[in-house]
């Protein structure tokens, strides 16, 4: 158990190091003077000199990397060219909005996917199963931003039920916040729901054909009890893993969704940063996103092994 955890943590650390190396190299691949890339075109000579000294840009590149890594570990990812505010600070201010959006969409996705997946597995090869599969295939194929635009057309332009865009902080007015978040959350959750539903269905089908389920049935238990008390517990285990892997898609999806619904979160931040050539911000956001993804998956793996000691993934053999 401990071996597994240590190995898993070690791999995550190596992954994080490689990620930092990739991000570091990426920014240095941008043509031009790195000090100017990080300071922006309107930085004065004094500002450029300051950046040069801070990152030791006259040192050999490996030394520059170590210095940059040291700063990053202490939470210093430089400052935004556009606003001159610290990158970490700006991200920290935007992140709660995206987390709320992602959380809501996760709730929506699970609320759709698990009942639908379990139901279509239990009623396998009936019209309901076919219907659920059809809907999930559509969910996989529909481009989220088009779904968003169509929802705005329907609920905001035609029916005038929901505001098309804008944002109200959660603690200022929870109801108004929810009114504006429900469409983006649904759009973000739809794709995830499709993936989770397919996974739930497949693993439930597998579990339902296991011996212990047959035993439960032959004991005379009602179908409902067998499904809810016995099958679901094991059937949902693979779903947890998929959920961890899907957080990456969720973060990427947030970029698009926030753009359509003008939600001032983390995703909009990165798009704005790209357009204003705010390289320190892009670098910071990419680094934070990738690290968060690694950590989330580490947690999922740990949770997974705690939940299910039977499956002890051999980390090195992935």
């Amino acid at each position: 158990m401990l071996d597994f955890l240590l190995q898993r943590v070690a791999i995550s650390i190596v992954t994080l190091l490689v990620i930092s190396l990739v991000v570091f190299t990426g920014v240095r691949m941008i043509p031009g003077d790195p000090a100017r890339v990080m300071g922006g075109t309107d930085a004065d000579p004094a500002g450029l000199a300051e950046i040069r000294a801070k990152y030791g840009l006259d040192d050999p590149v490996p030394l520059q990397y170590l210095r940059w890594l040291g700063l990053a570990l202490r939470g210093d990812l430089g400052e935004s060219i556009r606003t001159r505010e610290g990158v970490v600070r700006t991200v920290a201010a935007k992140l709660p909005i995206t987390i709320e959006l992602a959380g809501l969409s996760l709730v929506i996705a699970l609320a759709i996917a698990i009942p639908a997946g379990v139901f279509s597995a239990v009623r396998r090869n009936t019209i309901w199963d076919l219907l659920a599969n059809g809907v999930s295939l559509c969910g996989l194929s529909v481009p989220s931003f088009w779904l968003g635009i169509m929802l705005i057309l329907l609920f905001s332009v035609r029916l005038r039920l929901l505001p098309a865009s804008g944002f109200v902080p959660l603690f200022q007015d929870p109801l108004a916040n929810l009114e504006r978040m429900i469409m983006p959350a649904f759009v973000l959750g739809a794709g995830l729901a499709a993936v989770l539903m397919r996974q739930t269905r497949n693993s439930m089908i597998e579990v339902m054909s296991a011996d212990y389920i047959r035993t439960a049935y032959s004991k005379g238990l009602a179908g409902r009890v067998v499904v809810f008390r016995h099958a679901i517990r094991n059937g949902l285990i693979p779903v947890v893993t998929i959920l961890g892997l899907q957080t990456g898609a969720l973060m990427g999806g947030a970029v698009v969704t926030e753009q359509i619904f003008v939600v001032p979160g983390f995703g909009r931040l990165i798009v704005e940063a790209v357009f204003t050539r705010d390289y320190p911000m892009v670098q910071g956001v990419v680094l934070i996103t990738a690290s968060a993804y690694v950590l989330i998956n580490l947690l999922v793996d740990v949770a997974y092994s705690l939940l299910n000691p039977r499956i002890r993934i051999r980390g090195g053999e992935t």
Binding site: V18, L140, P143, F145, I149, V255, V256, V282
Partner: protein, 280 residues
């Protein structure tokens, strides 16, 4: 392919009409992409100030956009861009991923470990964030978006190929080829590759629709194809400003993406069943 194999394929395909429909629609889109100059009734870039945001009519079945351009012609030409981005990015991913995966899986050892850690890190970047980062460095254009999407999909192919190669190592035909004195290169190219090709093909039918959506998203965000080029993503981005006045601008490009990706997914599901009947 002999006649009987064709017949057998047809018999199997007939049992999956939905997959056949998907494949046919994919072929239709391919024809549209190739034949865009002959299919589109007018120049997708020609603006006409007297026809700004006109609702669909017989002359303009999909209506016109904010610059008076014919939406139908733009959707037809947009097929070319989407297909190009979808297919070429995945070809790039295969061109890099398959050889690397082959070598890593065949020789194992330190190189394999290095490649695995690199793909771990590579896969830790959410696909879209990675593509955005790459486009920031390379600059926005169709080619760069295609490269970014291709590089984003590469680790999947490295891992898939490696896994498949590991699975073939113990097979008799690999052992047999080695025993007959075939060199490593020959075993990989002539014996292993043909046996894993069908799994790679199935993966490609799954990744191409993803790549098509990724291109549309990048173009929608302004990081891919640049206006006035008719890409489905840029069309949707323009449409978003006129949802009240001209909703048809948003209907068609999105419907085109949706039907193309759905058809790819349907055809891919069918292909998987066809090539690997034991799986389901």
């Amino acid at each position: 392919m002999s006649l009987s194999r064709l017949q057998r394929g047809w018999h199997r395909a007939r049992r999956r009409p939905v997959a056949v429909v998907g494949a046919v629609v994919v072929l239709l889109f391919t024809a549209m992409a190739l034949g865009a100059p002959w299919i589109a009734p007018s120049d997708p870039l020609r603006t006409d100030w007297s026809k700004i945001r006109k609702a669909p009519t017989w002359a303009h079945p999909f209506g016109t956009d904010d610059l008076g351009r014919d939406t139908f012609s733009r959707v037809v030409w947009g097929t070319r861009i989407s297909m190009q981005a979808g297919v070429f990015s995945i070809l790039l991913a295969i061109a890099i991923g398959v050889p690397v995966g082959l070598v890593a899986g065949y020789y194992r050892g330190a190189f394999d470990q290095l490649i695995m850690r690199l793909t771990d890190a590579w896969l830790s970047f959410p696909f879209l964030i990675l593509a955005i980062g790459l486009v920031t460095i390379l600059g926005p254009s169709l080619t760069n978006a295609t490269v970014a999407i291709g590089l984003g999909a590469t680790p999947t192919y490295i891992r898939l190929t490696r896994g498949l190669v590991l699975g073939t190592q113990a097979e008799d035909y690999v052992q047999g080829a080695r025993a007959l004195g075939a060199g490593d290169g020959r075993v990989m190219a002539r014996h292993i590759l043909p046996n894993i090709a069908s799994a790679l093909l199935v993966q490609a039918t799954v990744s191409i629709p993803g790549a098509i959506i990724a291109e549309a998203i990048l173009s929608f965000l302004g990081l891919g194809v640049q206006p006035p080029s008719p890409s489905w993503g840029t069309m949707l981005s323009a449409a978003q400003q006129f949802l009240e006045a001209a909703p048809w601008m948003a209907w068609w490009p999105g419907l085109a993406i949706f039907s193309l990706t759905l058809s790819f997914n349907l055809a891919g599901d069918g292909l998987r069943d066809l090539l690997d009947p034991k799986d389901y």
